[in-house]
Assembly symmetry: C2
Homo-oligomer: 199 residues x 2
């Protein structure tokens, strides 16, 4: 298609870089951009650059944020003695939607998966140990996905953390085994949170 309308083709290629966007959808989106007003396309370009420039990791929990600390860490009402460990920011947002959990979070940015080259040192585990080392942490809820890698990561963390004197728990199997936490419904997540158990 490149010989046809070059700048349209180049735009479609950019959309196709995004996760889950195929060639056909990318071309449809590129056409769709042409139907937007010029101002709207400028806002779109600005939003892209802004997001990339402003969003960084929260220095405490490693969640994504565009402020100094993330919205949970900066909230003085949250209970800092309980840390919920999640694999990624999307799962953390899913947990927040439950509106039941009042503790704080820690985002690992992945799960241990030697097959894919993800060893523990690639995850934000050092940062978690440092937080626990500062004291005042009583419980770590490991909310990694209920998959083989998620379970292995939970066991690995339990082994590291229990000697430090913290209670390590895992979400109850209210969440269907093998599923992706990001898509769990709020009631299921809530049940899973209530029934959490020691690892």
């Amino acid at each position: 298609m490149a010989e046809y309308i070059e700048s349209l083709e180049r735009l479609a290629e950019q959309f196709a870089r995004l996760e889950g966007v195929g060639k056909k959808s990318a071309m449809r989106m590129a056409f769709s951009v042409l139907e937007l007003e010029r101002d709207d396309v400028e806002s779109f370009a600005k939003a892209l650059l802004d997001a990339k420039e402003k969003i960084h990791l929260c220095p405490i929990c490693q969640n994504l944020t565009d402020r100094e600390q993330c919205f949970v860490c900066e909230d003085p009402q949250r209970d800092r003695s309980t840390i919920c460990v999640v694999s990624d920011p999307k799962t953390m947002l899913a947990m927040e939607k439950v509106r039941e959990y009042r503790g704080v979070y820690h985002v690992l940015h992945g799960v241990i998966s030697p097959m894919n080259g993800v060893t523990p040192d690639k995850l934000k585990i050092k940062e978690l140990l440092a937080r626990v080392g500062e004291g005042n942490v009583e419980e770590i809820i490991v909310a990694t996905d209920p998959t083989v890698e998620g379970e292995a990561t939970a066991l690995y963390l339990a082994k590291l953390l229990r000697p430090l004197g913290v209670r390590v728990t895992r979400l109850a199997y209210g969440v269907p085994v093998g599923a992706d936490l990001e898509y769990a419904d709020e009631v299921t997540l809530c049940r899973a949170l209530e029934g959490r158990r020691d690892v």
Copy 2:
């Protein structure tokens, strides 16, 4: 989600403006942008602005182009005595993929649909009449979708054009009735082209 990560949310809103992109997909794409390199995000923003700035309508056939004329109109090899009329640029690209048609095109930018407020004056029909008025046009192939609106548009054009002494044809019903031409396979489009008939 706006209270969470504002610049991420704003980016997701931009993706959600595009045709066929829901809220969940838009958020997934926004997260995906954060995983791109900074340079790639800059290229993405530039591609958006470039496409909007450079792409305009071909002054002859009203197709999208980022050059003076579209790639068909600027090709001296194309047969200017046959004009294939399509509803939109995507259908025109689908026709081009057949690599069978050697004439030129005319893009209406819609089909007549009074229910949706699309009256003939909203389409590029004046421009088509002007081209026919210049003489040298022998045949108009009306390749609008085989739907009620597409058929109505074809009949309307036939009534306007036949008095001017041009042959007006319609793609053969090789294309399945009710379908969208953009997604027709190339063989079907090719058969439809070969079996075209007078309106």
